[in-house]
Amino acid sequence: MAASRRSLLKGLAAAGVGAGAYAASRGRFVGTAHADPTDPRFLIVIGAFGGASMLDCFMPVDRADALTHAQRGTVISYETTQPEGSNIRCVDRQIPRQYLQRHAHESVVMSTLSSSVNHFVAQARSVNGRDVNAGRTMTEAIAAVYGDACPLPNVNMGRGGYSEPGADTSLDPRFRGEIVTNPVTFPLSMSGHAGIVPLGERPGQDPAIRADLVARARAVRDDQLETLSPFAQTFPGARTRRDLLQARRTIEPTLETSDLIQKLLFVPDLGDAFPLNAWGITPSDEAGRILDRLPGAFPANANGTPDDRLEAQAALAYLLLRTGSSVAVTMTQPGTDGFLAFDQSHQNHRTAQRVHWNRVLRVADDLIDLLATAEYVGPDGPTGTSIWDRTMIVFATEFGRDKWDVGDGFGTGHHLNNGLLVTSPLLRGNQTLGQPDPNNGFLCGWDRETGAPTPFDGLEPGEDPLFDDVRQPPSEEAVYGTLLQALDVNFEGQQTLPAVLKRA
């Protein structure tokens, strides 16, 4: 059924007709109405931990327009710029500017309204849309639709609420996020025996012989010992035991035969620091290409912790998609201290926002470059399209920050009003939806069909709009539904914001 549908689409493309055909210029699908598991879409969530404020990056108030209020200070503002060809304005700084120069045509910046100023709660809601889809997170929903054939459909390198599983108890556990804390060494858990002892003279040190020996040991264990033992007879139906035995028959052989221990390793042999060759492990043949872009992904200490954990996450994210291992990946900006990231805005707002926006944008840019220069190989072979052509990056964040600059390296608290950056060829790109209000720093909402802003007219300078003002931006539910719609995933009760979506 799926194959015939794909054939039909290709036929339509050849004939150059109708919605759902290849877009002639880029060779990618647009506007397909229903998800086809054999024609996957990929989702990468970058959790911008701590409150990535859109007012400080892609929806800034220009310094010349910002209100100064006697009691409140000055609305946070910047020198701003709008790169040529971009409909998105940014603070006039190299990395945001460069990001727009490269990706504005595939980016949407939209104002949004969060529902919590608690970090973990807001993080979880930013990826589960306040449970609007039976509690599934976005990545779980994508994995459930497109990830059936993947060994690790949904990999989560997130922290806090970004790594929380969804609340849908009916979801197949395979589609829950596989938690990864160290992308460098994670691939080592993809095999029970490869690279377990160094190469040497003994037969057991030969990887091929060892594989045969382990197969025999597993056979006697699973086929005989697990049946004979009194323990097995006492606990024949124990759920954990059943799950463990089931994994031995299903997921574990898949992980091993896919050779993911080597294909997902992006760090080359580092001699004494990571002696892979001596242990019979050959890293991915893309290791060199990846590390040209993401040099900080190298391990830096005896725990295998990389110099730059976000770069290491990006490296693994790329390989997970490249090898067909996953369709959904969550990364998280770990911050320089492992915890606060954008939340360092409490101490110094401008510095924190600058440092962490620069970091996530730089790494995202490198990741997009890797994905855009790698051909997507589908079930029928090479497609002539890139992996990036079917990927979406969501810069999820929990909330915004306070809107007023009170001077002296000021800090900010949490604020519900904010915005979201999404970059993907699957969106109607090059759009800013909503606009900053120079009188109070709020980002106004926008018409869901046309995208026209709904400014907070009629407020006194320095007066904040109410949170139930109808001109406030869309909530988490609508954003969630829209992003899944762009990835051809539908669910009951889905709210969408058509202005964000490509027109068929």
Binding site: E178, G192, R216, R221, Q224, L228, N303
Partner: protein, 208 residues
């Protein structure tokens, strides 16, 4: 006492059987071998990394830092922490995952296989040095194995890893793998390593 009263009451109507009357044998049910009793709750938990580590340390008498190190450098207690039920404060993971992850089984296998390999190598070194090995008293490079050598090793593995003696069928099953191991290119030391791995990764060894 209560039976006598009842009997006396009944005798008023039908009379009690005399002491000499033949006693009827109650019908007997066929004897079934029910095997081990089945747990009703069956609420088993997976050993977390710390329990696994301590069990292997004790069973194979290995120093804590020698149980498992990936590529000889990266401590498995840290590296496989999360799939083995740990937390990662550094990653904001404050509660263990409440289910098995996709890599749990393989991470456990790596843990046990490395520990068993270390014990096998140390015992082989002891034998080469003319000392008494702790566990694997055998001819490391041999291609034959008799029951007199194998059974004490298997029994010791069961006692150390599962805290019980093996059943005769379990002894037979583990012993029988030797010929296949040799067929695949292994030697007796490899058989011992794999026996340790197989027993140490049974669900009995991993769940409680």
């Amino acid at each position: 006492m209560r039976a006598r009263v009842l009997c006396a009451l009944a005798a008023l109507f039908v009379g009690c059987p005399s002491e000499d009357a033949p006693v009827e044998t109650p019908p007997t049910a066929p004897v079934y071998d029910l095997g081990e009793p089945t747990s009703v709750k069956a609420d088993l938990k997976m050993k977390r990394w710390r329990q696994l580590q301590l069990d292997l340390e004790g069973a194979l008498e290995l120093p804590p830092d020698d149980v498992c190190n990936e590529t000889g450098l990266y401590d498995c207690r840290i590296l496989h922490n999360v799939p083995l039920g740990g937390v990662s404060i550094e990653n904001g993971l404050f509660r263990p995952i409440d289910a098995l992850s996709a890599t749990t089984g393989l991470a456990v296998e790596r843990f046990v296989m490395q520990a068993c390999a270390t014990r096998a190598v140390r015992d082989a070194q002891a034998i080469a040095a003319g000392e008494t090995p702790l566990l694997f008293a055998l001819e490391p490079d041999g291609t034959t194995l008799d029951r007199e050598t194998a059974d004490p090793i298997i029994t010791s593995l069961y006692r150390r890893l599962l805290a019980r003696d093996p059943l005769p069928d379990e002894l037979d099953a583990v012993y029988a793998t030797h010929s296949g191991i040799v067929e695949d290119g292994g030697r007796t030391l490899e058989w011992a390593w794999m026996a340790c791995f197989a027993i140490g990764t049974t669900t009995e060894a991993l769940l409680y």
